[in-house]
């Protein structure tokens, strides 16, 4: 993995520039949401929401901490989505990003169901899985990803992985010395390293990340046992395809009905 992103939650002010910049660059419409008692929104991931800032309030004695997180595809080296994709539509790019080839995607939904971080959205209309692309288009043209470009405080940095690791280590040492005794790096060991690395001020759960992320056994089994059985796979893919195609038809019909009324 040559390039990575370092998300330093201790610098994040949760302004959510990244969240809007992601939509702006990737031409994603807004979701309809409602305020449910937290600043965090939208509630989940979808084909039009690829990343979001999380807000966790933690009481420590008399004091309160407000820990921010940054959820999105973390571009795992050991990526469950890639393992389970029956058609090889998901791969690692040469920079280390996990990318979905929408041309190949057959909309079987396995990646959505198996993602360790629950961050893959499924676009029923187009019948494809969609998620953070690591702004491959920008990166290939010498630009930084949209979120990293927008982040005002340097909480999201894009660069050479080795440089970022050094930076993260120094930052964690600094945070620990200054009272954040549970500060740590995340994404170095997890899933053999993730493209998104984090400097966390506190335990991963308080930054909306799993403490011990892992690829589900089912996904591994699928990959090692069943995937070689291509006939089965094709059947499975065909089944998924048929189901989704039906769902798409339903949506189209529904839209037509709405259009008529």
């Amino acid at each position: 993995m040559a390039k990575s992103m370092l998300i330093d939650t201790s610098k994040c002010t949760a302004c959510r520039a990244c969240q809007v910049a992601c939509k702006q660059w990737n031409q994603l419409p807004a979701e309809d949401t409602e305020f449910t008692g937290t600043y965090e929104n939208p509630p989940g991931f979808s084909p039009i929401t690829w990343m979001k800032v999380t807000f966790n309030e933690v009481e420590v004695g008399d004091e309160v901490r407000w820990y921010f997180g940054n959820q999105r595809c973390v571009h795992c080296s050991d990526a469950a989505c890639k393992l389970v994709c029956p058609v090889g539509a998901i791969s690692h790019s040469e920079t280390g990003a996990v990318v979905i080839d929408e041309e190949k995607c057959i909309g079987c939904n396995y990646c959505v169901a198996n993602c360790t971080f629950n961050v893959v959205g499924f676009n029923r209309r187009e019948n494809v899985a969609q998620k953070c692309t690591f702004c491959e288009d920008r990166v290939a043209n010498g630009l930084k990803p949209a979120c990293a470009t927008a982040c005002p405080t340097g909480a999201i940095e894009y660069g050479d992985r080795s440089d970022l690791i050094k930076k993260a280590q120094a930052r964690v040492a600094d945070l620990r010395a200054n009272g954040d005794t549970r500060a740590r790096i995340y994404g170095l060991e997890e899933l053999n390293g993730t493209g998104m690395m984090y400097v966390l001020r506190d335990v991963p759960q308080n930054h909306a990340l799993p403490y011990d992320p892992y690829v589900p056994l089912g996904a591994r089994a699928w990959n090692y046992v069943f995937k070689p059985l291509r006939v089965l796979m094709v059947l499975g893919a065909a089944f998924g395809l048929w189901q989704n195609f039906r769902a798409k038809e339903e949506i189209t019909k529904g839209e037509e009905r709405r259009g008529e009324s």
Binding site: T13, A14, C15, R16, A17, Q19, V20, A21, K23, Q24, W25, Q27, L28, P29, A30, D32, T33, E34, F35, T36, G37, Y39, N41, P42, I48, E57, E63, V64, W66, Y67, V87, G88, A89, S93, E94, V99, D101, E102, E103, K104, I106, G107, R125, N127, E136, D137, A140, N141, A146, T149, A150, C151, P152, T153, R230, M233, V234, A237, L241, F245
Partner: protein, 996 residues
């Protein structure tokens, strides 16, 4: 069934899948081969239209349409970064459909809309019709109400019946033109939202340092050792400036203190969080001043040389139980001050008497110690609710910057400025920074963070009833019946403002050109004169409610949501005969007759809603909080019939002039004689040249305000902006050259007033001999007897350093920074008073609330029996002001969709509310509904031994636009600060209950 290529592939997916299984890697080269979608687009730089950090944004334009907006990587302030609002800028013009297609924002007003008396809906009209009709309304109202002389026989040439509001969201050139037009019409009732956000800043800072603006600039934050964010929430409201706070923390090990009633997003990243009751800034800051004085943490050399610490005050000056000497009681129990005993002692020649040892009991330093001694840690803690240890931690940390060579800065915004004693809170910041020697220092200063993209510019253009452009005092009938009396009263004997006559005369020359001559006192009587009424925002609506204002212009301002006690404001609007609202969206003010529950049939007001252009659909300059006057360029044509505000202002004036040419009416000369020619479609460059100033004989642009003359030889629309457009080919305001070396002042990026100074009062960055106090923060220094460095000196460099050190605050006649200032309405030293509505008694004196504040609506005061909770209002990162723009931006509505209030878990349990329930918040002014956000980030405070709950509320919602919600300002009080009448939005009483 239509099949796209891809769905066809999927239909035959089985086969395709099999085929691709052999190759698991996608072609990564594909992404590279593709150009990014903006590759062939034209790049047009603009400046963000939201807060006043002044971030650069690039509009990518293709086929004449903006297709992408993102941070300008070349811009020295934001370096390509933005906040959520700035990142979503394109949403103001376009939104994405479910299919990912860009379509025009459906809420945009693209036609002239007219609402007839009693009508329940709009009619679409054309511009010719609207301009003609508006001109006739203006003429009718003006002619019917025009006064040529007042009751004392003074020539006043004014109308009180036309009001004008706006605007901090339009360009400098537009504001200037509006100001000029209104004065030409004889309008004295004009104000705008700067009244409501930082008027107390201007009053407090001007009375302390001589200028009313943020002293340093955003990039300069990188040089601070300690930040205190009190009365502000920088991370949420000026998000990109946190870039420079972070830089200081990372590179200098700087510390950030956040003092706030709520645990905010700034508090979340701060080193120290100090909880604090709303309305207690003065106690908090006074406590810090006392801490510095008691513990010897002040900078003695700085105090002695650069402040008025050693000056002697009138021996009869005194302070007792909340009242300063000279208090004159008024009928309602409030007072006004005779300031005779606040004056300096002077010798026969008028020189101020001083005691260099600062031991004389009448010297400012001794009076200072005396005054602040009451603000001990225990008292401050009991008043503010900040635990003693926490307060001490804050005081010790911040006052550590009193050490020579250190720099600490105060960052504040509306949490400092919106109280009945707010201007004194600002003064307290000033006093603290003078005591610690932080003024004029890189990394120091009092940084009043302004919240609207051009509120600094609209303030400089003085869209305010009490000023003329460039902060010239307004012409009042009582004080300035004649030109000579104005000069007598308003031109001081010393300091820079001895030049004021040239500023005034040049302004009149800009207004009335060759019709302003020495023989007619440069058309002095063309300009309307003020009456004795307070015509600030509260006053305007007070008059409106009483039927004394017939017509109102409202530019990019939305008082139906932003006004204090906003429900009353909307009722006031019903009393108007006509309203002209200019905006990009149909705001609540323009649609006040459409408010749910309001019977439009009974409202006779005619409303003209004129469709405006967005910020990137027109040309002009805006001034950020750091006084940088930056030009922004038109990236696309406005849609439909939308027009730039400049075009609209120009056409309205010309239409009015046309009707007066046909039928002059009373005293039409100021209109007919007005110097007004900006081209067929008004050109902002032409207006900019007039603001900059020119030689009236040669037409040459003036280099700077130093060339202004009081004999009519020069014209200048705003002396303060002199030099910002002094070169037609390379106007400084358009410059975009980043510094290659230096300390972030970027002198060749845009232009900062005055004369491109980036850090005000910068003589104080060096000691009296001219050596920088801090070697690693050198700004200006002496080299071979000559001053050199990274900024334009804010002092006379022609005199020896020991001389300039005697008057580092050149705008003040006495030259020394004012620890003690006689220029305030409510006392020379800041004093804590309780808010107008408070659940506790004032511990510090017998005066409960500011004794000088004017009480407009005594019946609207709530008491703590009925309204037991302390309330405060605020903004969120994701929305902007009344939300009129941001609530029409889907991406921002997605992340902050609804109106809510924040309460503590203990209050929630007391009133039986769970997180997410609906609640009703009420005050004597009204009530609103909102979602409850129950959060440990809000905690009850211990005040004088008792626990008090706080209710926090954003105020971004209203009934118009995409995202609607109740109006928080329906509960805020219309009581203002003693100096500027800025309403007390930030501390009042309310009740809260679960919605039934």
């Amino acid at each position: 069934m239509n099949l796209s290529r891809r769905s066809f592939l999927k239909l035959v997916g089985g086969a395709t899948a099999t085929a691709t299984l052999t190759s698991l890697n996608i072609n990564v080269e594909k992404a590279k081969a593709q150009r990014v979608r903006v590759h062939y687009a034209k790049e047009v730089p603009t400046i963000c239209p939201f807060c006043a950090v002044g971030c650069g944004i690039i509009c990518h334009v293709q086929d004449g349409q903006v297709i992408n907006t993102e941070g300008d990587l070349d811009h020295p302030i934001n370096e390509g970064t933005l906040c959520s609002k700035g990142s979503g800028l394109i949403n103001t013009a376009f939104v994405y459909t479910d299919k990912g297609e860009l379509k025009p924002n459906p809420e945009r007003v693209t036609k002239v809309l007219y609402r007839a008396p009693g009508a329940s809906d709009w009619e679409e009209k054309d511009w010719d019709w609207a301009l003609r009709e508006i001109a006739q309304r203006v003429k009718k109202t003006r002619d019917e109400t025009f006064e040529t002389t007042d009751e004392n026989g003074v020539t006043v040439n004014r109308t009180k019946a036309i009001g004008h509001l706006g605007s901090a969201v339009i360009n400098n050139e537009e504001n200037y033109l509006l100001h000029k037009m209104m004065r030409g019409l004889g309008v004295i009732t004009m104000d705008h939202c700067a009244r409501l956000c930082h008027s107390s800043t201007v009053a407090g800072l001007m009375a302390s340092f001589g200028r009313g603006a943020m002293s340093n600039h955003w990039i300069d934050y990188q040089h601070a050792d300690v930040f205190i964010n009190i009365g502000g929430n920088t991370a949420e409201n000026h998000p990109v400036s946190m870039k420079w706070v972070e830089k200081a923390r990372e590179e200098r090990g700087a510390k950030l203190i956040a003092a706030d009633p709520r645990f905010t997003r700034t508090a979340a990243v701060a080193d120290v969080y100090a909880p604090q009751r709303p309305g207690t800034n003065n106690a908090f800051l006074n406590g810090m001043i006392n801490y510095a004085l008691e513990n010897g943490l002040f900078n003695l050399e700085y105090l002695r040389n650069y402040t008025n610490a050693s000056y002697l005050i009138h021996p009869d000056y005194s302070f007792h139980e909340g009242l300063f000497s000279g208090a004159q009681p008024l009928d309602d129990g409030q007072v006004t001050y005779d300031t005779e005993t606040w004056a300096y002692q002077r010798d026969e020649d008028g020189n101020i008497l001083t005691d260099e040892d600062m031991r004389d009991p009448n010297c400012v330093f001794q009076l200072l110690r005396d005054h602040y001694s009451r603000y001990d840690v225990k008292t401050v803690s009991e008043v503010t609710g900040c635990p003693e240890d926490k307060f001490e931690e804050v005081a010790e940390l911040f006052c550590s910057t009193g050490e020579t060579g250190k720099a600490g800065t105060i960052l504040y915004a509306m949490g400092m400025t919106q109280f009945t004693d707010a201007a004194q809170g600002v003064r307290a910041c000033a006093v603290l920074q003078l005591v610690l020697g932080n003024m004029g220092m890189p990394g120091g200063g009092v940084n009043a963070q302004r919240g609207e993209s051009n509120v600094q510019g609209s303030t400089d253009m003085c869209m305010l009833y009490h000023l003329l452009p460039g902060y010239l005092p307004v012409i009042s009938a009582a004080a300035h019946p004649t030109f000579d009396s104005y000069l007598d009263a308003e031109v001081p004997d010393s300091g820079f403002l001895v030049n004021r006559p040239s500023h005034l005369v040049s302004l009149f020359k800009a207004y009335w050109g060759e019709n302003a001559t020495a023989d007619n006192d440069f058309a002095y009587d063309y300009h309307p004169k003020m009456d004795d009424k307070d015509r600030s925002d509260i006053g305007i609506f007070y008059e409106m409610e009483r039927g004394n204002i017939d017509g109102l212009f409202c530019w990019g301002q939305n008082p139906a949501v932003s006004g204090s006690g906003a429900k009353q404001k909307r009722e006031g609007l019903q009393q108007l005969d006509w309203l002209v609202s200019v905006d990009v969206f149909a705001n609540e003010t323009a649609t006040f007759w459409k408010e749910p529950g309001v019977n439009s049939e009974g409202i006779d007001t005619e409303v003209f809603l004129l469709p405006a252009a967005l910020d990137f659909e027109r040309n002009g300059s805006i001034s950020n909080s750091g006084r940088w006057i930056q030009w922004r360029y038109k990236a696309q044509d406005p849609p439909g019939d939308c027009k730039p505000d400049l075009w609209i202002a120009d056409r309205i004036f010309r239409a009015v002039r046309d009707v007066y040419e046909d039928d002059p009416g009373p005293f039409a000369a100021p209109i007919l004689d007005m110097n007004w020619d900006y081209g067929e479609d008004a050109d902002s460059n032409k207006v900019a040249m007039e603001i900059n100033g020119y030689d009236t004989q040669t037409g040459h642009l003036l280099e700077s305000f130093a060339h202004l003359r009081d004999d009519g030889r020069t014209a200048c629309g705003n002396w303060l902006y002199g030099g910002y457009y002094n070169d037609v080919n390379d106007p400084p305001t358009k410059r975009r050259v980043r510094e290659k070396e230096g300390i972030g002042t970027n002198p060749e990026w845009s232009f900062a007033w005055p004369v491109n100074r980036r850090i005000l009062y910068n003589r104080c960055s060096a000691d009296p001999e001219g050596n920088p106090w801090s070697p690693d923060r050198k700004l200006l220094w002496l080299e071979n007897g000559e001053w050199t460095g990274y900024d334009v000196p804010d002092f006379n460099t022609a005199i020896p350093p020991e001389e300039s050190a005697k008057a580092p605050f050149i705008m003040l006649p006495e030259g020394g920074g004012r620890l003690f200032s006689a220029a305030m309405a409510d006392g020379p030293f800041p004093e804590h008073y309780e808010p107008w509505e408070s659940p506790v008694e004032n511990m510090l004196s017998e005066r409960q609330f500011n004794p000088v504040s004017k009480v407009w609506y005594p019946d609207m005061r709530g008491d703590s029996d009925e309204y037991p909770y302390i309330a405060t209002s605020y903004r969120l990162t994701e929305h902007y002001q009344t939300g009129m723009v941001t609530r029409n931006m889907p991406w921002l509505n997605e992340i902050m969709p609804d109106m809510f209030v924040e309460i503590s878990p203990s209050l929630a349990s007391k009133i039986g509310v769970d997180n997410g329930d609906m609640v009703v918040v009420s005050s004597p002014r009204g009530e609103f509904e909102a979602v409850a956000c129950v959060t440990p980030r809000v905690k009850p405070l211990q005040i004088q031994g008792e626990e008090h709950e706080v209710v926090g509320m954003p105020w971004h919602w209203g009934y118009a636009g995409m995202s609607t919600g109740d109006i928080a300002n329906d509960v805020t009080p219309s009581i203002g600060d003693a100096n500027t009448t800025i309403p007390e939005y930030k501390a009042f009483l309310c009740n809260i209950r679960k919605r039934g």
